[in-house]
Symmetry: C2
Subunit: 331 residues, 2 copies
DNA sequence: CTGTTAGCGCATTCAT
DNA sequence: ATGAATGCGCTAACAG
């Protein structure tokens, strides 16, 4: 076992209170003794026991992080950002996975509280709402969700995506989402639709409705661009197009959301809208830290999304060449 | 604040020890009082304070998990598996990210210990070794790494990959890794090479050596298959091939490692070698749990990898059609 | 079988 | 400016 507060107090001939006061800056302690204490602490390699402190102060110095589905590829970034922000603020992160199941999510919340988490950051399952509890909770969801504490501006991101394609001359655009139960996806699609110009034809497609979407047939229907609510879906579309011999972005432009790790690595690189994960994480941690200091819950914060232009989006094909694919040109 | 042990003891007219004994099964307590205690606990919704217990027992009930780079897409699965395994064993998971930096890794280890982690599971940075400390550590790396506690059979996986391609008739195969500093990647490539038949030409390529690898030119050099040490690299190769108009697997077979989440979603689906994340996680947690019970460190465990065959691998093209690509056929 | 007692390591009064 | 004393909630000895 390590050295205790008492040890270093005894060795210095002072009281434990003095040592504690020095270390926590709380105190009226003379410069002289402060130096002695600090050097002794260094010498002995003393580390305060979190258990003792937690019992005394009722604070564990730990925040819970509950995620809906760790296997979602966006998770790594958000988790990393939160861990970094929390560490900077002196908190540890206790992690839990709800497997997308509302029951498991509830149990995870209870487990975190039982473990003494000072606060909880949660990215809720689709369609679940979080009832406020005794321990403060920061919710990262969509701006349109009640109880949301901080989120990316998914609507604004959708609008930005749409404007990007309009600028490139696209006028017939497919909007592809996975599930309507996701408030995030709904917001993104809404944003796209509101930004569409009157002369722009838009078709909204939800994968949960279709057995299997035939991406390639969209081209013969005159669509020149596709925006997916996730880079995952965009990647699927991209590979389908390329496999069928259609050039991206020459024949069709493709873009997604979240700027996942692979999006910059594939060929062509995927144009995407990135969340400000670091900003969101910092907000969530700050939110909790502030409430732990006794302040009331701050208003929800919405952080802008950032357009990352890569090679998967380009000028709309001219009407004549619209149905022409690469092979035909080459022969 | 919640109810304390004392409360429920007082309400029942028994001692705190009796309640504690009942709850921890430690005790010589009559059936009668046990029932009364349990029902009172239920009624009051009593939850033991981890802080108090931790201080008393010196055990936090928490394991640290230190990852080299959360943004690695394999992380989600391994983290999820470990969280699940730990929860089953009654542990919480305190997470930390070393950003691939050995210094940060060391600091993360210290932070975990300071927070009172009972044990630490670590996936080390490339090229780092973990010195055993006072708190038990389980290392998840490669079988060839000293100090490794549990890992997938990366060599065996490499061999399996090679045999899969040999069976399909491939005899000129490119092996693509990212960094030689990764023991995991080394093992995978070694496994591939040992399984290559004498009549099979193999070329080992490390991306850290090349400014930018020209995947497409490999085809004109007669390669009919490519194995990457990661699905990420395989995905890059796949999209490059498809963009250039080469059909996968008709013209070239591609396979990777780790069966990342996107591998089943792209077209064609990526053939890959999957780690048994759940098994690895269970082993790591069991390893730590056993050592916390006072047992000596168990020997390292190696878990087999599983071949997941999808559409990106197929029969080798016949020698005559080897240099022929899709467009030429169609014209 | 059950109750009493004594800390675990720390932060915090209240005296000095 | 410092020290002595107190108890956070719990469990492990020991006593009954």
């Amino acid at each position: 076992m390590q050295h205790k507060l008492k040890d270093i107090a005894r060795e210095l001939g002072v009281s434990t209170a003095t040592v504690s006061n020095t270390l926590n800056g709380r105190g009226r302690v003379s410069e002289e003794t402060q130096r002695k204490v600090r050097s002794k602490v260094e010498e002995l390699g003393y580390r305060p026991s979190m258990a003792g402190r937690a019992l005394r102060t009722g604070r564990s110095g730990v925040l819970g992080l509950v995620l809906p589905d760790i296997s979602n590829p966006l998770f790594p970034e958000i988790a990393q950002a939160i861990e970094t922000a929390a560490a900077r603020a002196g908190f540890g992160i206790l992690i839990a996975d709800s497997h997308g199941d509302p029951d498991a999510q509830g149990q995870a919340l209870v487990r975190m509280m039982q473990r003494g988490a000072d606060g909880i950051i949660i990215v809720p399952c689709r369609g679940t709402r979080i009832d406020e509890t005794t321990t403060p909770v920061a919710v990262i969801d969509a701006a349109s969700t009640e109880g949301n504490s901080v989120s990316a501006d998914h609507r604004g991101g959708g609008a930005t995506a749409m404007r990007h394609l309009l600028q490139l001359g696209h006028r017939k655009i497919a909007l592809v989402g996975q599930s309507r139960r996701s408030a995030v996806q709904i917001d993104r699609v809404e944003g796209m639709k509101t930004a569409a110009s009157p002369d722009c034809a838009v078709r909204e497609i939800w994968l949960e409705d279709e057995a299997k979407l035939d991406y390639v047939s969209l081209l013969s229907q005159g669509f020149t661009a596709l925006v997916a609510t996730s880079d995952i879906v965009a990647l699927t579309a991209l590979t389908e197009f390329q496999r069928a011999g259609h050039a991206v972005p020459h024949d069709v432009s493709v873009m997604g959301f979240d700027d996942l790790s692979f999006s910059s690595l594939i060929v062509p690189g995927l144009t995407s809208l990135a969340q400000d994960c670091a900003g969101i994480a910092a907000c969530a941690v700050a939110h909790l830290a502030s409430r732990l200091d006794g302040n009331p819950a701050p208003p929800a914060q919405i952080l802008p999304m950032r357009l990352v232009v890569r090679e998967s989006t380009g000028p709309a094909p001219s009407p004549t060449s619209n149905l022409t694919n690469k092979e035909t040109f080459q022969c």
